[in-house]
């Protein structure tokens, strides 16, 4: 059955009858850096500041809505590399809290949970840490590099689930055995959550060294990262830590869904581990870390869904075999040159 172009949008935006939503992020680095270029040390800062930078500069998060837990509660300012210094980006600091479990748990309960309501969205990223299991996907524990703490997964999940009000929850988790958090009976899964983990429940996670020899990073190089973070942050920002362009956009719409993040990690030659996804609500293909999408210079010819806060459209065409669903929680702005070809399907929920 041929569907026809069914309307020309005569107004420039649709504003839904909802309260203004906030997009919050929680970044946790379960360790601390004390020197450059040292595996299981430097990346606790390197990967954290790159993840933070991406959220602020590319994903439309505000400083005040990103909660950062790291080390003893202060930024690491001793890197010899400019790109790992907050001042390089014009910031005085990025860290809010130390990474003691008691601090994390209490802050989640007493400070962050009361801030977030049903209209808001939550992004959780356990940027770098350790994990271990005894024998099953339900006995994962998280470990800290800088503390002798081990916290069971049920305790971790309960602590984060104290934040129970959100529209969408998007989780990225980088530790060994992190697949436990998407599998088994104890996990983060629910209909409003997508979680991507760096490895399966029974395997380790690894660093990525662009310059290595015999499995070991070569001394004195700048770009030591967890391989999962290399792929994820590069996909989101469109540029890798070496400064090369990085394309995580698999469906050519110029934005990166959670499903695409997983697909890129799952197929990347950078990855030695096997990333996992938990997506009980089948929402991964339509939710994004960025809640304010701009679709610009895009021609869509297949199935696409966008369930975010705001959508802005410029020079946007749905081709005759395109099937597009926009589900903005607040508004869709059509700034210029929107075209829907005869035969396409467009739905705005």
């Amino acid at each position: 059955m041929i569907r026809i172009l069914f309307f020309i949008i005569a107004f420039s935006f649709i504003l839904k009858d909802v309260a203004f939503a906030e997009n919050y992020a929680i970044l946790i680095s379960a360790g601390k850096a004390t020197t450059d270029d040292l595996f299981n040390n430097s990346e606790f800062w390197y990967d954290l500041i790159l993840a933070y930078e991406d959220l602020i500069n590319n994903q439309n998060y505000t400083h005040d809505n990103v909660f950062v837990f790291y080390g003893d509660g202060d930024d690491w300012l001793s890197s010899n590399y400019n790109k790992y210094k907050p001042s390089y980006y014009g910031w005085s600091s990025i860290v809010d809290f130390d990474n003691k479990w008691s601090t994390i748990k209490d802050t989640l309960k007493n400070y962050i949970a009361p801030l977030i309501n049903n209209n808001d969205n939550l992004h959780i990223r356990w940027v770098v840490g350790h994990g271990d299991i005894i024998s099953s996907p339900d006995d994962y524990s998280a470990y800290w590099q800088n503390r002798s703490e081990a916290i069971a997964e049920s305790v971790i999940i309960n602590a984060f689930d104290q934040i129970s009000n959100y529209t969408r929850r998007k989780i990225l988790w980088m530790t060994c055995h992190s697949g436990c958090l998407a599998k088994g009976n104890v996990n983060f899964n629910n209909s409003k959550t997508t979680i991507i983990t760096s490895s399966d429940w029974d395997e380790a996670s690894y660093p990525y060294c662009p310059y290595s020899s015999n499995g070991y990073c070569i001394n004195n190089f700048v770009d030591l990262h967890a391989e999962f973070n290399w792929v994820i942050t590069s996909s989101l920002s469109g540029i890798d830590p070496l400064g090369n362009s990085y394309n995580g956009d698999q469906n050519n719409d110029d934005v990166i869904s959670m499903q695409e993040l997983y697909n890129v990690a799952d197929t990347s030659s950078v990855m030695d581990s096997d990333p996992q996804i938990g997506d009980n609500g089948s929402i991964a293909n339509k939710i994004f870390i960025n809640e304010d999408l701009v679709l610009e210079n895009v021609d869509l010819s297949n199935n696409y869904e966008y369930w975010v806060e705001n959508i802005t459209i410029r020079d946007f065409t749905i081709l005759n075999n395109g099937n597009v669903i926009f589900e903005p929680n607040v508004k869709i702005i059509i700034e210029k040159n929107f075209e829907a070809k005869v035969g396409c399907f467009l739905e705005i929920k």
Partner: protein, 236 residues
Amino acid sequence: MKSRNNKNNILPKLLIILISNCYLSTKAQNNFEISKTWEVQNHEVVDITIKNDQLLLLTSNNEIMQLDTVDNYIKYLFILKKSSKLTGLTSINNDFYFIDDKGNITKNDNNGTFKQFRIPKNYHTEFLAANDSLFFTCLLNNNGLSYSNRIVSINKSGNDTIFAYIQGSPVGICIKEGYLWYLARQGIIIMYDIKSKEWTQIGELPISNVFGLALIEDLLFTYDLNTKQIIKIKIK
């Protein structure tokens, strides 16, 4: 800590960066000083330890060598005839202890395995250190660097627990006065309090690409892979 209202007050932080950079670079260069070297040709050193003030070397052929610091030469002591590959050597009081690639800890009294702990699939051990109650070894992923690479402690019953996750590529561990000293390939030394597990990076050796770590009083011994020499370093 990040000020939630003012993110742009950079100047004080820049001053801190300058001061801390100066401090760190000075510290790294001044803590250690090479005081003597010995040639060790034709042997691949796997681990080193100190027993009764003598430096002992374990080679890849399961040989035990001794450094004679008086007459300045390396002498052969004995070979352990085992089917497994020895990967670590330590001493407690007057006894030698070895660990092999199957997780067996053996005492050199020909009474067979002293302790054994389970090595996870795809992992191997390197290096051995001990105090009166615990052994310590590095448990390393066969693929190289992994966030599961760890130092484990093994008690007298053979039960192991995670002591710390390994930073860098490990090249040696040893124990001195309640602290586990750890050496990474690029010469970085980290000291762990055995009771609290808190760690401090105490400095960086003036050489890198080294292997093995032994300590006695204010002297540190390691093996330079580039020059094939045992290096004695004075800790200031």
